[in-house]
């Protein structure tokens, strides 16, 4: 059983970056780096986390490779292949090998970089992929991405008299898209469940090939939630069933946490300014019910 006591004390990611207080993405990246240890190269597609390394500083002890928004998994391919060649030819010693870790937001993962990700999974690339899913283009000020959920307000889907719901489209199911490629390991994780996250990263490390993670990643300015409420909100996402914690090993899905009784989604929605228009000035009952129905529909067929 993995517990918080197992979390390494070593910090691979230093504090003091330019990112927002309470950023879910930073917390997730920090835990990821802690668990994987210092022998990593973090490959980052343009997005919020790109602001971690701003010349002349880097908060990483290990290597960092910033790349264009669409092609972080392709850079991971080039680095992994180069490392394999260097190892084979003895130019890099085995103990100096690196784990290749792609870190991107949901815009890169579900939109502009989906093709590059599909290619990398198809080629069975041996890499980790952490998606900090903040459900929008946060780094550009929070516009809608294909990962924005139905009913959320973003800068491009702000509710109007004509379109009172906010975002009309459903969140793209990246987990299922990835799963169709049959990678050895996929998991969803949450910053409120760090022991679960550690356990999953360690489990994933036993597999060769793509090891893919989608993380619930609250964005304080985009979601309009206080930085002190981020962990509580992430916990609420899991307890309402909005964010199922699960893994898929060779395509077989198991849920890490199964609740006999879920809290109503309303409790999750009410914590965030991006859903405020569903409750005031008038309650949009049909929209709230539709969101609840989507969650119920998901859990209908889940037995454990």
């Amino acid at each position: 059983m993995t517990t918080l006591r197992d979390l390494p004390l070593d910090e691979s990611l230093a504090s003091g970056s330019l990112l927002c207080a309470g950023c879910g993405g930073v917390l997730l990246t920090r835990i990821f780096e802690k668990v994987l240890g210092p022998k990593t190269v973090t490959v980052n597609a343009a997005g919020c986390m790109s602001m971690l390394s701003v010349f002349p500083f880097t908060p990483f002890r290990s290597s960092w490779f910033y790349v264009a928004m669409a092609s972080a998994p392709a850079a991971a391919q080039g680095i992994r292949d180069a490392l394999d060649i260097l190892l084979k030819k003895g130019r890099v010693a085995k103990e100096d090998d690196l784990k290749v870790v792609v870190v991107t937001g949901d815009g890169a993962a579900a939109d502009i970089g989906l093709q590059a990700t599909s290619g990398a999974i198809h080629r069975k690339l041996d890499f980790y992929y952490l998606v900090y899913d903040n459900e929008g283009y946060s780094n550009t000020g929070f516009q809608a991405s294909s990962s924005s959920p139905y009913g959320a307000s973003t800068k491009t889907t702000a509710p109007t008299a004509l379109l009172p719901e906010g975002t009309l489209l459903d969140k793209k199911d990246l987990f299922e898209i990835w799963k169709a490629h049959r990678p050895p390991y996929i998991a969803t994780i949450s910053p409120a469940y760090i022991a679960d996250m550690m356990h999953k990263i360690e489990k994933a490390s036993r597999f060769a090939g793509p090891k893919l993670f989608i993380a619930h990643s609250p964005c304080p300015p985009g979601w309009d939630v206080g930085s002190d409420l981020v962990i509580r909100l992430s916990k609420m996402a899991v307890e309402t069933g909005v964010w199922p914690l699960k893994e898929a090993i060779d395509g077989q899905v198991t849920h890490s946490l199964f609740m006999k009784k879920r809290r109503p989604v309303e409790e999750y929605l009410k914590m965030q300014g991006r859903f405020e228009h569903l409750f005031s000035p008038a309650r949009q009952e049909s929209v709230i019910q539709a969101i609840q129905a989507k969650v119920d529909d998901y859990w209908k067929n889940v037995t454990k």
Partner: protein, 411 residues
Amino acid sequence: MTKELLTGNTAVALGARLSGVEYVPAYPITPQTEIIERLSRWANEGAMDARVVTMESEHSMLTAAGAASVAGVRTFTATSSQGLLYGFEMLYNIAGWRAPLVLANVSRGVASPITLEPDHNDVLSARDSGFLQIHAETCQEALDSVIMAYRIAEDDKVRLPTMVNLDGFYLSYTREPVDVPEQERVAEFLPPYRPQSGYMSAKNPMSVAVVVLDGRAYSYFKYQMHLASTNALAVHEKVAGEFEKAFGRKYPAVEGYMLEDADYAIVITNSLTTTARAAVQEMRKEGKKVGLVRIRLVRPFPRQQVADMLAGKKGVAVFDQNISVGSGGILYPEILSALYHRSDRPKKVVSFIGGLGGKRVGHTEFRHMVAVTEGCVRDDSQLASVLLFTDSDWQAVKGMLRTAGKGEVSQ
């Protein structure tokens, strides 16, 4: 020494193989595909100790190539036309990463309208990216240039990616006699890639391509690339000298042909140079004092050499196999700017556009260019760019327009 009859594509692939390339991210596109087919086969047969990976797009292909080169392996890749444009963002990135890889571009016109045949809008669109550009005239030069390109790109004074351009069809699918250098002698000429920055590893952490939010730092890094690129003028000269010693073939950055006593000069790049040479010979037989300047190194632009060769001529005809829509030939203003400060600059420099989408260009066109330039000198007149398009070209297009249901169209 026996020569083999090789297509330009095979020659380029051999150049990569002889250079000890270790990694090839690939993606097919006409007329380049034969290059990656060859390399894949050699890697799969064990004839070449390289990893060839077919990516899912040119954007990813270029990303993987740049990343591997930065990590410390000798990397080669190839594309053409739409592929180069699809990966365009990464050209600037790779150059900024200072990844000394070699990219073969097999020139092909850019859509729309879509075509398979060559012109240089694809490769010249990348002229500001930071890639060095070598434009080959023959299949032999394409092979030799790949080997030379690694020496230049990996030089510590340069450390920039290099593009070797060869024309689609005219070279890519055309067999020419090629002297294939021996592996041992190439190995002597081109030592293994040992980057000064070391190999990416746990022992050697790197922060690559970090965000620069300060305009001063951005200017510093950009201008450093520019200076590194201009260093490549001297490095190219040194490498070309050593290449000549080792293999007996001479590749100046800018080549003059029948130029010394010439009153008129044609400026040209790439494979049509061979046709232009023949046209110059013909005109010489008729007593016309015509010569030719072939620009092989397009980036960095060898301004001084170009000016030295053209200064003192009466007239210069610049042949651009490309078109900057709304401006004209792309190389023309570069030639003009090289000459402007010379008091002995030619009286007239005239711009000609031809060979777009592989349209035939023969002796008639080159003769016409010289005649028009002579006329401009004689009459002290200046023309806007001249499109090399014959009456029979126009009759053929009119026929097609009729078939397409456009009726009779006036010019």
